[in-house]
Amino acid sequence: MRRRSQALGHVVWLAAAGAAAAPATVVAGTVAAVDAPPNDAAGSPAADEAAGTAAGAARGWFGGGIDLIAGYRSTWTTVEDADPEWFHEFELDRGHGWVEAGWGPARARLLAEATRATGEGALVGVAGDSVVLRLREAWAGCELFGWGDVAAGIVPTLAQPTLERGSGTRVLGASAFERHGLLGPADLGASAALRLPWVRGRLAVALYDGEGYAQRELNRGKSWEFFAELRPLGVVEGLGPLVVSAAYLLGSQGAGSSRADRVVAGLAWEGDRIGGAVAFLWLWGVDGAGERQGWAIEGSLRGAPTEWLLLAARVAHVVRDADDEQNRLTEAGGGVGFRPLEPFEVWLDGGRVLAGETARAASPGCDQWWLAARLRFRWSGGGP
């Protein structure tokens, strides 16, 4: 096991809170090897037994952190004589900062993220099209006698953050599920989790507005998310990192209350030096079209052959209309990272997006190659 900084001690707690299962050291090792756990941590602020003990030991505590991924990205369309054929820009792929506090069983968290003020193609935003800060999480919660916890506010959703943590490849960009608007990372609502110590897992349920954290509520319908995360072999030595998760979302979207239901299942190996995950998603209701069905699958691999060398690869296939096989995108990418000095990581990655005929016609330029150089800074401190 490699050396860990004191800051990562907090990562231990947060990762454990998200995983709600494996021994804290294992989980922390996993996420610290390639990816940042704090804001990728699973849905409710559930903590495992170890975290509960730690929180109880420190009656009042305060913590915070930063996760920043800045980069330079070049893209080339695969179309000859496209206009433009290539483009390059500096970008801020992630800019998260958070503070959190607890007192006894009570805890709260604020997480701000950087984002563009406008949507794609728009000129009118905040002060032009500035990069602005908005809240991605703002919740208060309470641990319930060591059996689970509840939280309310802008809460992380249950499935998407868990899948992202399992994938451990956030540095390559947000997951395809999130980028294509199929699953959201947070919403306004409340969540409750019940720990299952005998299988090192948890059951959780959440009720949201359903429009995501970047939109006001637009209809009377509320969205349910039922979620289970298990480490079925957690008690077997060496097999603890195996995580199975599943969720069902029963939701509505938009002012017209379009159906937006999802079933998602994930399998992840959250190992210390090697990890991987595969997740499958089926959608009833895509992009506000309630009758349309779609599906997506994403797989990832990551590894840390040495203390300073990191590897990651990811493949995703998104079918936006199950009745139109050409309405699809296939994405494959991979990168190599270096950790010259914690908390810095430097990455070089590249990949390709292949679009079906319909997707290519509807979104000119989506069929492309990319090459990126990224710098990641992760730090967290304080904590229980």
Binding site: Q253, S257, A361
Partner: protein, 521 residues
Amino acid sequence: MTSHPAIARRAGARRTSVATALQVGGRRLGPSPTLVLPPLLLLLQGCAEVAPEARQAEVVSVLVAADQTLLRSRPALVAGKYARMARGLYDFFRGGLPVWAHDWRHDAAGGPSRFDVPGLLVPGLGDPHLENFGLLLAGDDTLALEPVDFDAADRYPYLWEVRRLLTSLVLACRLSNAEDPAARAAAAAAARETARAGAAAYAATVRALAAGAPRERFDEAGGRPVLEDLFRRGREDAASREELEQLTVVEAGRRRLRRGTPDPAEPEWVLQELPRHARAALPEALEAYRRSLAAPPPPAELALLDAVRELGSGVASWSRVRLLVLVRGPTDDPADDAILELKELFDSGAAGWLPPGVWHEDLPGRLIEMSRAMWSRPDADPRWSAGSWLGAAVQLRTECEANKTLRLRRLEGSRGTPEALRGLAEALGALLARVHAAPGVGGRTAVARIAAAVARDETGFADEQAAAATALADRVAADWELFRDALRSSGPTLGFRTSDPPTWPFEQRELWGDPPAPEAF
């Protein structure tokens, strides 16, 4: 709590499986499902309320999402727009551009084409339909047929443009000859052929432009009845300055704009007093606008004489702030006073697509650059420009009766025959091709690539586009019925309610105006 068949079906399926699970092996493992599940399912159903008609929900969601900021600030104006869209199919098509854009993301408006040019965006109107073309009186007092609405102008896939124009022509055929059912039936029967003629003219013009033909100015009707009528009326009104008669009065030797309802036949078209603070900001905006013109007139020529808030004009832009501004003109003689229309500008709605995703520095820049590029000459309307007023981006243009817009209601009699409509389609198809030949990024034009794609099978191109336009027109008609039904059942703002009581400043509400109650539909 509400329920509907779809959710009930899903709930029923769940009930069966859970009940079975609880009684595996003939042993009851817990409380009776009949006691536990109904309240649970009721709770789930009530919370996850989903609309029973999926397409209706989709249309409502898309329109409300597109209008959300306006619905929060000026719901009465959006309600007026929705009422107008509900009264007529063509008006629904005009106001339904967000639905078109939404559908494009799904199936590229009618499905992928053999003639697609992947990765190509052309300078386009975004909303190129029949009523967004019309006459403009140029700097040398000559009239020409030009695009006259740049609210959505940006860079688009060329088939987006072609199919939207042809869909509008199919609808126009079906809705022409309002008072003559037999003539309407004949035009409707020829709708697909009309669209085909428009597509063929587009293809032929693109081919010619790619071969080096000049971008022609459409300053003659070319023997087409609809355009003959348009040019004739335009020339008559250019001479008579009809707009001064209709919109102004002269009192004590000074001209002022009318207030009230200029046309009793259009009770929703209202001219209201402009708030003092809004009027006070106009001279500065006019001076900035004057400097933005290609050939700025002397400042005195744009001296402010009067201004009114105009309500009930347009369809897609119904809820935007719009003014009529009376300016001095070349001399103090009231006979040469001029009227400008000032209208709020918003984003185009283009989805960005290729990087960098935006192609202009700001909204006025988008309008000025796109209009100059698409017109046959930069001074197609020498007073058409953009700037800002009260912090908002605005467009200013000449308001004159000579600048006649093509109107669906004029397609009747000799102007509503299949031949006349085909002639109109050919002219607009050719004009759209000319628009697409405007210089794009780096001053390059895209017509050569379009021409190469179309040349593979020019007949097939026309057939495919006509078929797509016919199917799309059917979809628009079906959506219109769903939209009307939603408006009836959900209320004038499609069920959208602000969560907070509006707290907008009085000055702001005063500027948005007080529209008359929408007419029934």
